[in-house]
């Protein structure tokens, strides 16, 4: 008997013409892992949220079809279903409701009105299962991304659900954090819990031996898209020397790092969360001044550039596209950057956003927003492009689009610094790799990954995460 089953499930949102899900049927047994695969907008999250009851209870929609839990129709109500289906969301921040790890894990059982002794027992079991017992008294805001996601998982486990629903749980995690989460999940599967995941990438999930349910057909990425220019040389577009930085009360980052990036070169930056990758990009952009050391971009100190000068020299794409979008329409985003009408039309066409030029940028899908921020960064014709996790939350099609723009920029002589946890993609694009960890490595891509392999840090090598479709 299936622990969770959906039969001929259709979901239509009032604001959309096309149904988000159309007569989808799938089931999941206890001790089984099922992955919902498909491109952005194919309905993966919609299916999870509908199974949980959040749609239509929290988000109005027309829902047809049946949802069965343990072979019987699921009773309506998000709270009732939440006892049997534990949810872990994509954004590690979104799953946390309290200020301390132990309180977070206790939150669900407290809402169920359980006895204090039962709550304590469940909290203890969930903390042990996720390896979080040593962090039980830590403030939730002080946790790393991986720790936050494990806390969200522990909070779901404390409800002792029959099935775990996970919406791209590794999207924001570094390779080690993702690996730790998957290890915990494999333990849950062994213990007989069903696991239903929405995920773009199947490669990292191979250890869970999942059954794949495709919600649409996704074309494989062709490697020729990623040909960058031959290993370039010449005067450095980016020159960083003896960089050191620390946040108040934090450890020193970067440890006297020195490197240069030539025009047309793609430098991949890899490392665990908190190793200073995003800080490095902020230093290169001139948004933060280093404690020690110097940064030169195009021969100039980026921190001393006037805003308009910086825009012409450095383009930056941040992790969350919505942080970079300010104007009331897509077209006005280009006007804001003083991009000519011709150039705007060209970029809108390339980003497949022509039909959406009058839309509010925050109404776009996450893939469309990413294409827009990439287009805005490149339309300014920068000499240096700084990219902070541009593939987060992107399906294969959008990830390929972003990768193509990076390779084009490289061929046009733009120096690119690319921070990404999507190691197979990064390995195909980068001429050299900078690994920020306990030991720093800098060198040609193959050599750095070879060194990490020899050090036993396979989790930071592309083979470990190679996407197998």
């Amino acid at each position: 008997m299936n622990a969770l089953e959906v039969r001929r499930l259709s979901v239509r949102f009032p604001t959309r013409l096309v149904p988000a899900l159309k007569e989808v049927s799938c089931g999941l047994e206890r001790g089984e892992t099922v992955v919902l695969a498909g491109r952005s907008g194919s309905g993966k999250s919609t299916l999870l949220h509908t199974a949980l009851g959040y749609i239509p209870e929290g988000v109005p929609a027309e829902v047809d079809g049946e949802i069965l839990l343990g072979g019987v129709p699921a009773s309506p109500g998000l709270a009732r279903r939440g006892r049997r289906l534990g949810l872990v969301q994509q954004d590690p921040e979104a799953g946390l409701c309290t200020l301390r790890v132990r309180d977070e894990v206790a939150f669900g059982p407290e809402n169920l009105g359980l006895s204090r002794r039962e709550i304590a027992a469940r909290v203890e079991r969930a903390l042990s299962a996720t390896g979080l017992a040593p962090l039980a008294e830590r403030a939730t805001w002080s946790l790393s991304g991986g720790e936050k996601q494990r806390t969200a998982l522990a909070a779901a486990l404390a409800l002792e659900p029959e099935v775990l629903l996970l919406d791209e749980p590794t999207a924001h995690l570094d390779p080690q954090g993702a690996q730790d989460l998957l290890y915990v999940l494999s333990g849950q599967v062994t213990d007989g819990r069903g696991v239903l995941l929405a995920e773009h990438r199947l490669g990292p999930l191979q250890s869970l031996r999942p059954r794949v349910v495709r919600l649409d057909v996704d074309e494989p990425i062709r490697e020729e898209f990623f040909n960058t220019c031959p290993a370039p040389s010449g005067a450095a577009a980016v020159d960083a020397r003896d960089l050191r930085f620390s946040y108040p009360g934090g450890n020193e980052l970067l440890g006297g790092l020195s490197f240069a990036v030539a025009p047309g070169e793609v430098l991949g930056v890899v490392g665990p969360n908190g190793s200073g990758k995003s800080t490095l990009l902020r230093l290169l952009a001139g948004l933060t001044a280093p404690e020690r050391g110097t940064v030169r971009v195009g021969g100039r100190d980026p921190a001393a550039l006037r805003p308009t000068e910086r825009r012409g020299l450095v383009g930056m794409v941040t992790q969350m596209p919505h942080h970079q979008l300010f104007a009331p329409t897509v077209a006005q985003e280009f006007s804001l950057d003083e991009v000519s009408a011709d150039a705007m039309d060209r970029w809108l066409e390339r980003a497949q956003l022509q039909a959406l030029s009058a839309e509010h940028p925050l109404r776009l899908s996450i893939g469309e927003r990413r294409r827009l921020t990439m287009a805005l960064a490149l339309a300014g014709r920068p000499r240096v492009l700084l990219l902070d996790e541009p593939f987060i939350g992107q399906d294969r099609e959008n990830a390929a689009w972003v990768a193509r723009r990076i390779s084009e920029a490289s061929r046009m002589g733009v120096a690119v610094v690319l921070v990404s946890h999507r190691l197979p993609l990064l390995a195909r694009l980068a001429h050299r790799v900078l690994f920020l960890g306990r030991r720093t490595h800098l060198g040609p891509t193959d050599e750095v990954f070879g060194e990490l392999r020899r050090e036993g840090q396979q989790v930071f090598t592309p083979e470990f995460w190679e996407e197998q479709w």
């Binding site: 709270a79 200020l99 304590a120 942080h323 300010f326």
Partner: protein, 259 residues
């Protein structure tokens, strides 16, 4: 395995009990309110000074080391200096074009002590009370937990909003957007709306996480942390009543406040 788990549970219980603060959060809150009323209504510098010192004496280094307390002392000093040179009256000293008056010194001193007394008490309360503990105590006192939990959520979102704000400002700098501090409409358009949009997305995620874990489904919820009312708390409430009665009596002209 069962025996080991039970042993662990006992450890958890002892940890939870050890973490309980000395007094019930509601008793502390009542005393905080009474102290604030006394500080605000006490006439004269000496009375205000004595009352403002109480939180510092109780909190000691724990309070003095807090960045917020140091900021409060700085701001209190600023208020004192400002009043001393702005309020007109009999001149005590002249510093270039500025004159320090006796009335200014008295008013500045009173204002600074009022500020430090109320803020010091509040900071001591915050330093000794976990928000979840306070929210649980409010719920136990029959207030609907949906409302009392707002306090925890507010504190949960503060660092998040700050972070979102910083990211948006950085993105503005990268795109060459320069906002003049006095152009409020520009700030609303270019900063407040993006931060709000981002915050609403986050809030939606948190709301989903809370509902999916049964928040609001039952009329009453239980708590992991125990907050029992003890004799000490009754004594604190007695002290609170006494302070409030004295404040009321003196405020209605019962007697002079200070010898």
């Amino acid at each position: 395995m069962v025996v080991r788990l039970r042993a662990r549970e006992r450890v958890v219980w002892s940890v939870e009990r050890a973490q309980r603060t000395t007094f019930h959060p509601l008793a502390k809150f009542a005393l905080l309110c009474a102290h604030a009323a006394a500080v605000l209504s006490a006439p004269g510098l000496a009375a205000k000074g004595a009352l403002a010192l109480i939180p510092l004496v109780i909190g000691g280094k724990r309070l003095a080391r807090r960045r917020a307390f140091r900021a409060a002392v700085t701001f209190g000093g600023f208020l004192f200096v400002l009043q001393a040179v702005v309020v007109s009256g009999s001149t005590v000293a002249a510093l270039g074009p500025l004159t320090v008056t006796a009335e200014g010194l008295r008013m500045g001193g009173e204002m600074a002590l009022r500020f430090l007394g109320v803020l010091g008490g509040s900071l001591l309360f915050v330093a000794t009370t976990r928000p979840e503990e306070f929210a649980s105590a409010l719920s136990e006192s029959r207030l609907p937990y949906r409302y009392t939990y707002v306090l925890v959520l507010a504190l949960r979102f503060l660092p998040l909003f700050r972070n979102e704000y910083l990211r948006v400002r950085e993105a503005q700098r990268m795109r060459g957007l320069r906002l003049r501090p006095w152009r409020l409409a520009s700030h609303v358009k270019w900063t407040v709306l993006p931060v709000l949009a981002s915050a609403l997305t986050r809030a939606e995620g948190v709301a989903l996480a809370m509902q999916a874990r049964g928040f609001g489904a039952l009329r009453r919820r239980t708590t992991l942390t125990e907050t029992p009312w003890t004799l000490k708390d009754s004594l604190i409430m007695g002290l609170t009543c006494l302070v409030l009665a004295l404040v009321g009596w003196f405020a209605s002209g019962g007697a002079a406040w200070w010898p």
